[in-house]
């Protein structure tokens, strides 16, 4: 029988006691794989909850809607910083906009919900004439200026953002506030269709922010309609938002629908939610810590190491006078 295969060497023969347990091995192997996969998936899901990955393709820069006025930058560079600007991707995918979700990445996914046109802003309270202004009227009146500002979040991170908009002071002057107008109160859109996060009650909606009128008249205070030369994406507060670069980012109310001039200090959303943690002024101040974390340093988005936080976010020469004589540890 020359053609019969050679018998396998004895070392390759499965031992009978193992052969008898072959089903047990297969079963245990399957249980091992299934259990570890299920446990691992569960852990990934739980630890990702509320903080999912940012979209793998960041939103493209929006084009101006057809028929909308052209985005011509009329002025450039006032108060500008020469620091490297944060990337468009970082600015538009790392956002705090609780009305569009509580994680940093959720607003980028839901920003499209905001319909930026038609959009009007109601002007109310202590002004010569209460009125409703169309957002494109504002662009006609004031043109668009680019301002490259540092943005310091109360959570101790920061960015450098090239905004497009106009000085708030220009609008205030044009609206002729009365002598009783001492504060401005800014209100964000309330519409759970466009801002689905408003269905959860983590904060009192609509979001309200405020400025003293002399703060609003400061040339740094800015109403932004765009960034990087294009209209604001929803997650950044389309179509109109406040930018006050010497204050923590949460002062910059987004998607504004009302500006009210009033005699009394408005109650703002965060100071209502946690008065010991967030004050009305919220000036960037490395000396006054948040009760739960230090404000002495910050991480510039994109950097691995921290840098020192500057008083008034580095804008002290323009704004420190506003607070002369005030105890900034009390009025934080």
């Amino acid at each position: 029988m020359r053609n019969s295969p050679r018998p396998p060497p004895s070392s390759e023969i499965t031992a009978p006691e193992l052969y008898a347990r072959r089903r047990e091995f297969i079963k245990a192997g399957a249980l091992f794989v299934g259990t570890s996969a299920a446990f691992g998936t569960g852990l990934v899901t739980l630890s990702d909850w509320g903080g999912a990955d940012p979209p793998s393709h960041p939103p493209p820069m929006p084009k101006t809607a057809p028929g909308a006025p052209k985005w011509e930058v009329t002025r450039r560079g006032r108060f500008g910083t020469s620091e490297p600007q944060s990337s468009y991707e970082d600015i538009t995918t790392y956002n705090n906009y609780y009305e569009l979700g509580l994680s940093k990445s959720a607003p980028a996914a839901l920003g499209f919900r905001i319909k930026p046109r038609p959009w009007t802003v109601q002007i109310k309270g202590e002004v010569a004439r209460e009125r409703t202004l169309d957002i494109d009227t504002l662009i006609d009146w004031f043109g668009l200026e680019e301002r490259v500002y540092r943005m310091r979040c109360v959570e101790a991170w920061s960015m450098v953002i090239p905004w497009l908009g106009f000085p708030l002071a220009d609008l205030v002057k044009r609206l002729e506030p009365t002598s009783r107008a001492r504060y401005l109160r800014f209100t964000t859109l309330f519409d759970p269709e466009q801002l689905p996060g408003q269905e959860s009650r983590v904060l009192k909606w609509p979001y309200v922010e405020g400025l003293r009128i002399d703060e609003a008249m400061n040339p740094l205070s800015f109403l932004a309609l765009g960034l990087y030369g294009a209209p604001l994406p929803g997650q950044n507060g389309a179509p109109l938002r406040l930018v006050v670069p010497w204050k923590y980012g949460f002062k910059g109310g987004k998607s504004l629908v009302e500006i009210r001039f009033q005699e009394t200090e408005p109650e703002t959303t965060w100071s209502h939610a946690a008065p010991s943690e967030y004050g009305f002024y919220a000036n960037v101040n490395p000396e006054v810590d948040h009760p739960r974390w230090s404000q002495a340093t910050e991480r510039r988005i994109g950097d691995l190491s921290r840098r020192k936080t500057l008083p008034f976010n580095g804008y002290g020469e323009y704004v420190a006078d506003l607070y002369r004589g005030m105890d900034l540890t009390r009025y934080f």
Binding site: E24, K27, A28, G29, L31, F32, V33, T35, S36, A37, A38, F39, G40, T41, G42, L43, V44, L46, S47, D48, W49, G50, G51, D53, P54, S56, S86, E89, D90, T93, Y94, Y98, L102, K104, S105, E155, W157, S200, V202, L203, A273, D289, R292, W293, S294, A296, T297, R299, I301, G302, L304, S305, R306
Partner: protein, 213 residues
Amino acid sequence: MAKARLNWLVPAVVTGALVPFASLAWRIQQHRLGANPVATALNQVGLLALIFLIASLSCTPLKIAFGWTWPLRVRRSLGLCAFFSALLHFFVYWGLDQNLAIRSVLKDIVKRPFIAVGFLALLLLMPLAVTSTKRAVARLGFARWQSLHRLAYLTGALGVLHFYLRVKADHTQPILYGLVLVLGFALRGLAKIKKTRDVRLRAESRAARASSA
């Protein structure tokens, strides 16, 4: 059929526990952790530590509620996963978030209640991790070992508190983890009450039988 042997269970749990870390490492390598990867990694590792801790503290309640014994076989592995995750969480905070600045970390621990609470939980996990071996149980004696390991209850509560204090506005998650923990404590309490009552009833019936005899 013979009762299923569960020798695959502990390796499966440990392998599964490594999956989220592998996923995290992969996403760091792919730059998919967003604009602030340090903060994301710090939060995820910390949350994993809490999940492991709560899971290890849920083993006994599962046995009480359903009579299962398999959870007790994975309890030690889960506890060690919690310890190593908490340690990693601390090193991410110290090394990456604070750039190894010892003074600012010490200042944080002293000044910030939420950091103090988290740090205390990590410190308390250390003796538990060190005495997690069978030899340690033998050396300490079961009674002493057990009372030492009751510290795990405290670390669980501190872990939830650490998370609760850190959250800015939405407390849903820390509250849910806290509820799991509280449910576990309640089940333990009920089981203990039932046990004492059973012992007492048995003693009483024995006494009654003795007096009627």
